[in-house]
């Protein structure tokens, strides 16, 4: 009974010291320290990414003069526009084909570089990275001149074979081809360097075991290299899909969306209607369309990685 009588008095101070102690414990915990250290970056991301994202969500619900709330009005308007569906189609064609060829070329070139003797490899690696390290705005200008219909190196060379002149940027399908080509040229080195790193981490003995098991070179790639590179392929593809889908500079400089909007992708068209057409809410609505498409791609690709995560 005596003990119980004392208890109410002793509880209060005990609780406060426990609180202080738990704060000290929390600060000592690794996860707390990690959180505090990443806090500046989280704040930066918050300011630079989250705020504009929500602001564009807000913008998309306003009318052209940004005075009146229209709800889904901008989207309803977009769905009725033929150009919008053209942009959707073109964005998909552009991103999928560019990423596919970037990955394919990156994969092949990574294998070629991997087989170069170690002495010369640095040199080749460096040279092959050049397209990726030049600011794309500048290198695209060079491409613009290469694609010039009358005086360009391409048409000049093709003339020797009696071909052309080709209107690289003037004819819709050639223009699409050219834009994709430059994007592939710019992006393939990234795939090459990622795949090369991944290739180097595949144990040589797996190939030897496969060679003894009777696999030819193609079967070695199919049954050993590709499965071992699955995760890196998935991540680079997702990453590149996002970057390519949101690409702006190359298309803007080469064709500015022309001819007749036939090379517009989301970013360039959003720029056209939002900035050049002075309809920011509509531009914001266009750019928001990238989010659900990329989110679906991300879910599919990353889910696969999680499934295989603890295998290698």
């Amino acid at each position: 009974m005596v003990d119980v009588a004392f208890q109410p008095n002793s509880v209060a101070p005990a609780r406060s010291t426990r609180k202080r102690a738990s704060l000290r414990v929390a600060l000592k915990r690794k996860s707390t320290a990690a959180f505090l250290m990443t806090l500046p970056l989280i704040l930066l991301v918050g300011i630079l990414v989250v705020y504009p994202a929500f602001y564009s969500l807000h913008l998309a619900t306003l009318n052209k003069s940004m005075q009146r709330f229209v709800g889904f009005g901008n989207f309803e308007f977009l769905f009725k526009r033929e150009t919008f569906w053209l942009v959707v189609k073109q964005s998909c064609i552009f991103a999928l084909s560019a990423v596919f060829f970037k990955a394919l070329i990156g994969f092949v070139v990574a294998h070629l570089v991997h087989n170069v003797p170690a002495k010369g490899q640095r040199k080749w690696r460096g040279m092959l990275l050049v397209p990726w390290v030049i600011p794309p705005a500048m290198s695209t200008l060079a491409w613009l001149w290469l694609f010039d219909p009358s005086y360009s190196a391409f048409n000049y060379t093709l003339a020797f074979f009696g071909i052309g002149p080709i209107s690289w940027l003037g004819e819709p399908n050639w223009a699409r081809f050219s834009v994709i080509l430059v994007n592939v040229w710019f992006g393939a080195p990234f795939f090459m360097i990622m795949y090369l790193a991944s290739l180097k981490s595949v144990p040589e003995q797996l190939y030897e075991a496969a060679a003894i098991d009777g696999a030819n070179w193609w079967q070695r790639i199919w049954y050993v290299t590709l499965p071992m590179m699955r995760n890196i392929i998935a991540i680079t593809t997702l990453f590149s899909l996002i970057v390519t889908f949101a690409n702006f500079d190359i298309t803007r400089i080469l064709t500015a969306g022309g001819p007749l909007d036939h090379t517009h992708i989301f970013a360039t068209w959003a720029f056209r209607v939002g900035i050049e057409g002075s309809d920011l809410p509509l531009g914001a609505s266009v750019s928001l369309f990238m989010v659900p498409i990329l989110a679906i791609a991300a879910v599919f690709i990353l889910r696969d990685i999680n499934k295989r995560g603890n295998e290698a």
Binding site: A209, A210, I212, G214, P227, E311
Partner: protein, 366 residues
């Protein structure tokens, strides 16, 4: 099943000669172990048999056919690697069946072979797991299973037990021996561990610096080594080598170790060494078990002497004693009851019936 023949096989990397013209005949069903220190060319030799390395010169024959330019997949061999080299993305069953699937074997046949191999290696319950979920010993079993299901002409093992701990290594060694007794496939096995070599092999090939030092049965190599290298490499603790000379005193051939210590040779040995020049610099080779405690009634050829011990190593069933003779450390093996104490004196005896005499310059056993 097939025999394997190497004829003057050479492997040169730029300016380094890794394998310097070796000749080797491996009979059908035979278990041959290539053993030697690291860098002796044993792994390179195995990889040349596998076809993973080109040969610079010479011929390799499997089953009578020269396979110099035949790619590994057409040599009908199976190899077990040191780090197992299992495909991490395939299950155990898929790993084992990979070679068969590539050759388009019927599914039923593949299943029978996997079941059979899995039962032989006691991994039946593991066939649906991925390599990551297996322990080192289990992975090694799977790697062996992958070799067995192929039913190849030749098994090649490249230091397969080096990544396992000591206890597991002994267990897997027995496992490998059992498998070979069952399937009887010609086997070439590379190791740097002389115990593995001795316990597994029908014949051991001791290699050093790209050459074959000696080929023989484990007992042959142990009791009749041809060179100082083989004598020192095979056996643990290693054979003792003591500088000595032969001299004749009152019609009896003696081996003189120091000014104070000289042993009379038993008649059989004396006859064998009669022609050796008396002033030639020689080495007396004695295994630790032939330096034991002196007995009250020694057998003929066993000569006693006094030693002051530096170190003793009680091993339980025996005790190793170390002492110094003219600056050379010598190891002997005495019974645990011999009263050997560190830094104490002990009367030992050498069994000259089992002695070896080596030419100090050439290292050849006389």
């Amino acid at each position: 099943m097939a025999d394997v023949t190497l004829r003057k096989v050479v492997k040169r990397y730029d300016d380094v000669e890794a394998v310097r013209g070796i000749d080797l005949d491996i009979a059908d069903h035979e278990f041959v172990v290539l053993v030697g220190p690291s860098g002796c060319g044993k792994s390179t030799t195995l990889r040349m048999i596998a076809g993973l390395e080109d040969i610079t010169d010479g011929d390799i024959m499997i089953g009578g056919d020269v396979v110099n330019d035949v790619p590994p997949k057409d040599r009908d061999i199976a190899m077990v690697f040191q780090n197992y080299a299992l495909y991490p993305h395939m299950t155990v069953a898929e790993n084992m069946s990979f070679g068969l699937r590539l050759k388009h074997y019927p599914k039923a046949e593949i299943k029978t072979r996997i079941d059979e191999a899995a039962r032989m290696l006691d991994i039946v319950e593991l066939v649906d797991r991925k390599p990551k979920q297996l322990s080192g010993g289990q992975r090694q079993r799977v790697a062996m299973g992958r070799a067995i299901v192929r039913n190849p002409k030749v098994f090649l093992f490249d230091e397969p037990l080096s990544n396992l701990d000591a206890k597991l290594r002994v267990q897997m060694r027995i496992e490998i021996k059992k498998v070979h007794q069952k399937v009887r496939t010609t086997t070439v096995y590379v190791t740097h561990d002389q115990v593995e070599a001795m316990t597994l092999a029908d014949r051991v090939v001791v290699m050093n610096k790209g050459r074959i030092e000696q080929i023989g049965t484990p007992n042959d190599l142990y009791h009749h080594p041809a060179t100082r290298f083989v004598a020192g490499f095979i056996g643990s603790p290693a054979m003792n080598f003591l500088p000595c000379r032969l001299e004749e005193t009152s019609g009896q051939l003696h081996v003189r170790l120091t000014d104070r210590i000289a042993f009379a040779l038993p008649p059989a040995r004396a006859a064998h060494y009669q022609s050796v020049a008396r002033n030639e610099k020689l080495l007396l080779g004695l295994r630790p078990e032939h330096i034991a405690e002196a007995k009250a009634h020694p057998e003929p050829g066993v000569e006693p002497f006094d030693a002051v011990l530096d170190v003793t190593e009680p091993m339980g069933m025996e005790t190793f004693v170390y002492f110094t003779l003219e600056g050379t450390q010598v190891c002997g093996r005495v019974s645990p009851n011999a009263g050997a104490r560190a830094t104490g004196p002990l009367r030992l005896a050498v069994d000259l019936n089992n002695m070896h005499l080596l030419n100090e310059g050439t290292g050849a056993v006389i």
